[in-house]
């Protein structure tokens, strides 16, 4: 081992340097700065430099935990949080169901499965701005194809993004479309790792396909599904570009129906000139994500099987 000179900090530093500088400058430092900003009432107007008098600046604008108190005592925060949760309640089950179906289809030994694998993944490649614009136009109440097809079936389609009740479901529909291929690929990885011998044994015992799915596939997939739920929940709390593009008129959707946490953080910081407030808001978002992650971790043992 020593023969190759692969020892010591001196050998490691040149290789580590770019990543270390990157990590300190664009990850560690921003986190520290964000903590400091969250206890100031900085509006974004007065210039601030991190290299010249940053701590004096923090001292001058220091407000302690006022931002956190203000956010938590504002009813808007709970409304916004409830919008995030509403999104998750609609999005998570539909996304799981659809991407599970996609994964099962791709996993089939049929020749066409490969074609479907390519097709289902195309929405994932699309940028959210383009995807959201497409859906905005698909859901256009008068001229959009969805309501026109519904009309052919004798159903009067809703006003979608322009209606308070349907704005969030519209965003959920677009999000499931965009993400199904992504999570399908992860679930597919799990499906491929289940040994054939389980199914062979079940076959000998005379188990049908449905039984195989519920008794073998689902239980053995539970660790992958846990991972998918965890990941999608974290991503769901951070939903942002689709809201920015699809409901850009007004505050965020009709009567603020699609106000969500990241959208608020962005607007407080760069539209309403409340940088300190926005920084505090971003830490509350982090706290909410952490709480949900911990709750899930706790629930993990109850339903997730790990092969011993």
């Amino acid at each position: 081992m020593s023969a190759s000179g692969r020892k010591g900090v001196k050998a490691a530093i040149p290789f580590l340097l770019p990543s270390l500088i990157g990590a300190l400058l664009f990850s560690v430092l921003p986190i520290l700065v964000s903590l400091f900003l969250s206890i100031t009432n900085w509006t974004g107007m007065s210039p601030v430099s991190l290299t010249r008098g940053f701590f004096q600046f923090v001292g001058k604008h220091f407000v302690g935990l006022e931002n956190f108190k203000a956010i938590l005592s504002d009813s808007e925060f709970y409304k916004v949080l409830s919008h995030n949760l509403y999104f998750i309640v609609l999005y998570l089950p539909s996304m799981l169901l659809v991407s599970m179906a996609c994964a099962l289809i791709i996993n089939s030994p049929r020749k066409t499965a490969n074609v479907y694998r390519v097709l289902y993944y195309i929405p994932v490649l699309t940028s959210w701005v383009a995807g959201a614009l497409i859906w905005k136009w698909l859901l256009s109440p008068t001229y959009g194809p969805i309501n026109n097809v519904l009309a052919l079936l004798g159903i009067e389609g809703p006003m979608w993004l322009q209606s308070e009740a349907w704005a969030m479901p519209s965003i959920v529909i677009a999000s499931v479309w965009k993400d199904m291929g992504f999570y399908a690929m992860i679930i597919l990885g799990g499906l491929k790792s289940i040994g054939v011998e389980y199914y062979e044994a079940a076959n000998i015992d005379g188990a049908g396909k449905t039984q195989c799915f519920f008794r073998i596939t689902l239980p053995l997939l539970s660790s992958v599904l846990f991972y998918v739920i965890m990941l999608s929940l974290i991503n769901a709390f951070q939903l942002f570009p689709q809201v920015m593009v699809m409901t850009r008129d007004g505050n965020a959707g009709p009567n603020g129906a699609t106000m969500v946490m990241v959208e608020r953080i962005y607007k407080y910081a760069f539209k309403y000139g409340k940088m300190g407030y926005a920084a505090a808001y971003s830490w509350l978002l982090f706290a909410v994500i952490m709480i949900f992650t911990v709750i899930q971790k706790k629930g993990e043992k109850k339903w997730v099987n790990y092969e011993s």
Binding site: L119, L125, S127, I234, A269
Partner: protein
């Protein structure tokens, strides 16, 4: 036998239905982009434009800054890919194959940094870029790619699987550490590097929040951001907006078609966006 046939039909029906759901929005996008302004609001809908025209594309490229922002996107994406691959492979090499004091600490630092969402860091990132005089410069969108924890993990994992014996043999033959890194490690990690290049390509090309915050001058807009601003400007000119969407999707689609097997494997390794 009968049950089997029903199963096959059910499979194809569901598979086709989901494929329609995935693809029809894009067909609608293409169809709209080829319509004249008059046909755009025609009822009943012209599913296939009766008089297809490239007018929307002509108007799109007449929008000032459009060709420039396409160029910007290409520059940012290409640089991001190069920077990520270079920086992450070097760090992964140090973490996988060099023994040094503090290796665990560095590793833990990288792990911990992944826990904090971008939303927490983007305001300070604006300040840091401001201090570096990089706001409104494409470099501001590129330099953060010097550190991608996910990329480091992925490559480290791959390098751990490469036996030390290769490196020892090279060293006995007098190869320096840098030489071994270039001519042994990198070629052996080819697949992971390609996968990573594609993931980074997608991330940089489609990035929204950072360019939205850091690029305030329209000269430095990337495609996603100019599209975002066009959607405010030309609210209902969907022919133009769909043409723009198509232009922004096309390059990634080409990359995907060429390298699609790597896409799948990359996701199964990581399953993490960003």
């Amino acid at each position: 036998m009968k049950a089997r046939r029903i199963g096959a039909i059910g499979y194809q029906a569901l598979a086709m239905f989901l494929a329609v759901v995935a693809i029809v929005p894009f067909l609608w996008m293409v169809s709209t982009s080829l319509k004249s302004s008059g046909a755009l609001l025609a009822l009943p809908i012209e599913w296939i434009p009766k008089n297809p025209t490239l007018d929307a594309y002509r108007r799109l490229f007449a929008v000032s800054g459009m060709p420039r922002s396409a160029m910007n996107s290409i520059i940012v994406t290409a640089s991001a890919v190069v920077l990520t691959l270079a920086s992450a492979s070097m760090a992964a090499f140090a973490l996988a194959k060099i023994e040094f004091k503090g290796r665990n600490a560095v590793f833990m630092l990288f792990v911990a940094s992944m826990m904090i969402p971008t939303q927490v860091t983007f305001i300070p990132l604006y300040l840091i870029m401001n201090d570096l005089s990089l706001v409104n410069s494409l470099a501001a969108l590129i330099v953060p790619y010097a550190f991608k924890a996910f990329a480091i993990f992925m490559l480290r994992q791959q390098m751990m699987n490469i036996p030390d014996a290769y490196l020892d043999a090279a060293s006995i033959d007098g190869a320096s550490l840098g030489r071994s890194f270039f001519s042994i490690m990198l070629p052996m990690c080819r697949t992971s590097l390609v996968t990573l290049a594609i993931i980074t390509c997608m991330e940089a090309w489609n990035d929204y929040l950072l360019p939205l915050v850091l690029m305030t001058d329209s000269r430095n807009f990337t495609l996603t951001i100019i599209l975002n601003s066009l959607s405010g400007q030309f609210k209902t000119n969907y022919d133009l907006l769909m043409a723009g969407s198509l232009i922004s999707i096309l390059p990634l689609l080409l990359v995907y078609v060429v390298a699609q097997k790597y896409f799948a494997s990359g996701l199964q390794v990581g399953g993490i966006k960003g």
